[in-house]
C-alpha cells in the first residue's frame, strides 16, 4: 500500500492540510500499517519542505516516507536540477519521480524529443538512486501505451535500467477500462521481464472504475497500489485505499494487506481524514460510510440477527464499522451500547431500556445522533438523572426582516433572558441571520457566569428538512459543530420551527462544554453580577 493522501489527495477540490494535519495523518497511516507514505512535493511549497524535516521526529515504525517530484528539466544535468536537489534534500528513504510515457505529451506539451524524454527519465533515476530507493511513476501509462506501445515500454526500461526499483503504471486521466488495464499491465511486465523490478498501479476514478482497475492490475502481477484515504484527490479523486484494503483483505484470500494486521481501524481512519481535511463524510462510502450497513425500517431486528449475511456482504466490525437499523424500534442500540460503556452504565438493563425508548421517541421526531454525540451524551445524563442544567432559559426572541428592500439587506436580532442560580441575565445581539444572532446572544448572556464560553465558537451549522412533504411546515433538523480549540463536539435540535431547533442545538452545545468541565473539576460558583 502506497498512500498519497498528503500529495495527490491534497489536489482535491476544497482540500487543504496544515503542516500539523499532515504529520497527524502520517502518524495514523503508519499505525495502520501503510508501507509507503508520500508526504509531499518539496519543490512546490515550503510546507512540504517543513513536513520532511518534522516527519523525521515521528516514530513511523516500518513505514517509509516518500518525497515526490518530477524528472529533471530538459537540457540540464540531474545534479543541477532544482527539483532533483529538493528531492535529495528531503532526506527520505524513498523518492517517487514522475515522468512522461505518452509520446504526444512529450513532444506537444513538454516540447522535447522522444530521446531527450528517455534521457530525462534515465538520468534522473540514476541520480536519485544514489540517495534513496526510487519509485518511477509512469504518467499516462495506459493512454501512452495505447498511442505508442513500443515507446511506452521504452520509458519504463529507461527507469529500470537506471536503478528504479518500482515502476508504477498511472491511469492519470482515470479513463481506462479494466480489460485495458489487465492487458496493458501484463504487456508491461512482459516488456520488462529482463529486469528485477516490481510494478505498482496508480488509478483515478473518473470512470468510477478505480477500484476495479487497481484490483485487476494486482491480479495481473502488480504488487503495489497507490491511492488515497477516502479516494480524495483531483477531479473524481484517486482510488480509495480503504476499498482496496478491504476488498483484498476480506475477499481475496491470495493477498495479505497491512502486514496481516486486522482492518478494524479503517472506519476510524476514514473519518479522521475527512475531519482533518474538513470534508463532509461520504455517507454511502463502501465499507466505512455511516450508511454502509444501515438498514431501513420495516425489517425485523430478529431477522437481521438470524441471517445477517442475507443483508450484509461482510461483518461490519471487520472494518470497525457498525450495523444501523434506521427508524425501526431498535435503532441506535449499537450506539447506545457503545456509549453506555463510556458512561459506566454497566448492566443496568432498566436504564438501557429507558435510554432506548427516549432515542426511539426522538428519532421519530427526526433526531439523528450519529454526528451529534454531545447531544447523545446529554441525553444519557438526562435519562439517568445525572443532568443538572447550568442555566434556565426564561425567554428568547428573534426579530428579523429587511433593512433595505431594494438591495436585499436584511437584519436579525436576538434577545435572550436566562437564569443562572438566582441571577437573571438579559442580553441582546445582532447577527447575519436569526441563528447567528441567537448564538451570539446566548454566549453573550452567559459569559458573565461562565467566562470559559468565550473560548467556544461554532465551526459548522447544518439545516435539513426532515419531512419535506408539508411545505414550510416541515420539521427542521439543525446540526451544530462547536469547538473550544481543543475539542470539537456535535449537537442537534429538531422542531417544526427552525429558530426553536437551532436554540435546542445551541443550548446543548453550551451545556456539553460546561458539563465536561464540571466533570473534570468541581465547577467554580457562578458569578453574581448581572449584565
Amino acid at each position: 500500500m502506497y498512500d498519497t493522501t498528503l500529495r495527490d489527495g491534497s489536489q482535491g477540490e476544497g482540500v487543504s492540510f496544515s503542516l500539523q494535519d499532515k504529520l497527524n495523518i502520517a502518524q495514523r497511516l503508519a499505525e495502520i500499517g501503510i508501507e509507503f507514505i508520500e508526504g509531499g512535493y518539496p519543490l512546490s511549497n515550503e510546507k512540504d519542505v517543513a513536513f520532511f524535516e518534522k516527519v523525521r521526529d515521528l516514530d513511523l515504525g516500518n513505514s517509509k516516507v516518500c518525497a515526490f517530484g518530477m524528472t529533471r528539466r530538459r537540457s540540464m544535468k540531474a545534479e543541477n536540477d532544482p527539483g532533483m536537489k529538493a528531492l535529495v534534500a528531503a532526506g527520505t528513504p524513498c523518492c517517487t519521480m514522475v515522468g512522461k510515457t505518452w509520446d504526444y505529451h512529450a513532444t506537444e506539451v513538454l516540447r522535447v524529443t522522444l530521446d531527450e524524454n528517455l534521457a530525462m527519465i534515465g538520468e534522473s533515476a540514476e541520480f536519485l538512486a544514489k540517495h534513496s530507493e526510487v519509485l518511477y511513476d509512469a504518467e499516462h501509462f495506459f493512454d501512452g501505451y495505447k498511442a505508442n506501445p513500443k515507446y511506452a515500454i521504452e520509458t519504463l526500461r529507461a527507469a529500470a535500467s537506471a536503478g528504479a526499483k518500482w515502476l508504477v503504471l498511472c491511469d492519470t486521466n482515470g479513463g481506462s477500462l479494466p480489460e485495458e488495464v489487465a492487458a496493458i499491465t501484463t504487456a508491461a511486465r512482459e516488456g520488462l521481464s529482463d529486469y528485477d523490478v516490481q510494478f505498482g498501479i496508480h488509478c483515478h476514478n473518473d470512470s468510477e472504475l478505480a477500484v476495479a482497475n487497481s484490483l485487476t492490475a494486482l491480479d495481473a502481477g502488480a504488487t503495489q497500489v497507490q491511492g488515497t484515504i477516502n479516494g480524495i484527490g483531483e477531479r473524481c479523486g484517486n482510488v480509495d485505499l480503504i476499498a482496496i484494503i478491504a476488498n483484498l483483505g476480506l475477499k481475496k484470500p491470495n493477498y495479505e494487506v497491512l502486514g496481516g494486521r486486522p482492518l478494524t481501524q479503517l472506519t476510524e481512519l476514514s473519518r479522521f481524514v475527512y475531519e482533518t481535511a474538513n470534508l463532509q463524510w461520504r455517507g454511502n462510502q463502501p465499507f466505512v460510510g455511516q450508511s454502509a450497513f444501515a438498514h431501513k425500517g420495516g425489517m425485523h431486528v430478529h431477522a437481521i440477527n438470524k441471517a445477517a449475511k442475507t443483508y450484509e456482504h461482510i461483518d461490519p466490525e471487520l472494518v470497525g464499522n457498525e450495523r444501523r437499523i434506521l427508524v425501526s424500534e431498535l435503532s441506535g442500540r449499537s450506539n447506545i451500547e457503545a456509549v453506555a460503556g463510556k458512561h459506566n452504565l454497566g448492566e443496568d438493563k432498566e436504564l438501557m431500556n429507558k435510554i432506548l425508548a427516549e432515542v426511539v421517541r426522538l428519532e421519530n421526531q427526526g433526531y439523528q445522533f450519529e454526528s451529534a454525540t454531545a447531544s447523545f451524551d446529554l441525553l444519557i445524563k438526562r435519562v439517568s438523572g445525572t443532568f443538572t442544567p447550568h442555566f434556565e432559559t426564561i425567554k428568547y426572541r428573534i426579530v428579523a426582516g429587511d433593512r433595505d428592500v431594494e438591495n436585499h439587506v436584511a437584519f436579525a436580532e436576538a434577545i435572550i433572558k436566562l437564569k443562572v442560580g438566582d441571577t437573571l441575565w438579559f442580553d441582546a445581539a445582532e447577527g447575519h441571520g436569526p441563528v447567528n444572532a441567537l448564538d451570539a446572544g446566548l454566549r453573550k448572556a452567559l459569559t458573565g457566569a461562565y467566562p470559559q464560553l468565550g473560548e467556544v465558537s461554532l465551526i459548522d451549522y447544518k439545516v435539513r428538512v426532515v419531512d419535506s412533504a408539508s411545505g414550510t411546515a416541515a420539521s427542521i433538523r439543525v446540526n451544530i459543530e462547536s469547538t473550544d480549540g481543543k475539542e470539537t463536539w456535535g449537537t442537534i435540535g429538531v422542531s417544526d420551527n427552525i429558530i426553536e431547533a437551532s436554540w435546542r442545538a445551541l443550548v446543548d452545545s453550551v451545556e456539553y462544554k460546561l458539563h465536561r468541565e464540571a466533570a473534570a473539576s468541581k465547577p467554580a460558583l457562578a458569578q453574581t453580577v448581572g449584565s
Copy 2:
C-alpha cells in the same frame, strides 16, 4: 437501461420523494430515453399506488413503467395474494417480481421448502404474465449461486418456464467481485440456453465495484442494467446509471445506449435528481460531478486548451458537464443556452452574455438554477428588461421565540407590508416557523389584489447551507416548490440570513405565477380595497 431510482433509490438513507417528485423524475427519465422506469412498490404504501394512477396521465414516449413486488406468499394462490393483486392493479405494462435464489435464504428466513420456493416463483410469474411483461429479479443470485449453483439455476428456470421475459441477476449485498460476476453470468446464460429470455444485472456498490460488475455482466451477455440516477439507494447505493450510460456510450463502441440519443443531458439529470431528493451533490462524482473536470489553479488555461486530452479522459460537453478552472468559473453556460432557446432569445449575443454574467454572479453567491427554473425564467425577464413586478415589498418582519420553554413550544409571526399599484396592503400571519408565517402573510396580503393566489400552495421547502465553514454566518440556500394544482414550479433564494433567502424564494414563486398568467391573458386590474 432500467431505472429504479423511484423504488430502490428511495431506500437510500435520507431519501424521500413526494408523489409530485416521483412524477417529475419519471418524466425526466423518459425524456432522456430510459427504457424501463420502476415507479414503486404498490403493496407497500399509498403514495406508490397513487403514483401508478397519476403516471398514466404523463406522456412517457417509449418508456415502460414497471411496478415492483414480491412473489406470492407461501401457501396461497397467486390470484389471492395481496401483493400480486396490487401489481395487477397498478396497471403497468411491466411488472418486476423479486424471488429468492439462495437456498439458505428460502429455508432459514422465509421458512419454506426449496420446492415451495420454486412454486412461488413459477406460479407468480405465470399469473403476472397474463397481465403484463414480466421481469424476474433473482435476489442474491450471485451469493445463491456460490452456495448452491444447481438450485440457483432452477429458480431462474422456474421463472422463465412460467413466462418471465427478463431474468435479472441481483448482487443484492453488493459483495461480489467482477471475476465472479463474469463467470456466474455466463453460467446462468448457459443454464437457460433452451429458453428465449434476456438477462439483466442489478448491482449494489458495497465493494465500490458496482460499475465494473455491471459492465462485466454486459460483456458476458446481459442486455439490461438496473440502477439508479447518481447511485442513490440503500447502504452504499445501487449502481450509478449515469456512469454506466457514459462508460458504455463513450468508451465501449459495441454498445448503443439511450436509443442513440446524445448523452448531453446526463449532468442536468443528475443534478435534478439530487435537488429533488434534497441530497448534496457528490462533487467528485464521475462524469457529472462539479469537480469531475475541475483543474486546480496554477495550470494555464492555455495549456489545457492546447492539450485537453492530457487532463481529461473525455470531452466534458459530451455528458453536459464542463471544464472548470478553479478560481475562474464559467458555470451555467449549457443551462443558459438550453433555456435561451425556450425564450426565443435567438441570436442576441449581447443579451446572452449579460445573462451569463448574471448567472455567474449569482452562482458565486450560492445560487443553483437546476431545479429553480421559475427563478431562472424571471432572471431572464429581469436581464432582458421584460420584467414588471406585480407588487413592491415595503416591509417584512418576523418575530419568533418560545411560547412555553419547558415544553419546547415555539411561535412565529410575520408582518407584511406591500404596495400594488398605489394601494398599500398590510397583513400579518402566524406559522409553524418563520418561513411558514412569511408564506402565509405574503399570500394573505396579496389575495385582495390577486385572488388567484388562493390556488397556490407550497409543496416543498428545502434549506441548504452553501458554505458551512463559517458556522451560523454561512450562506443559506432555500429552494421552494409551489403548485396551483395544474403546474408546479421551483424558485430559489440565497442569503446569509435564512429569512431573507426564504423571502426571495417566496417572492419569485408569487411573481412567476402572476407573470405566467399575465402572459396567457391581459391581467385584471388590481382591486383597490386595502385590508
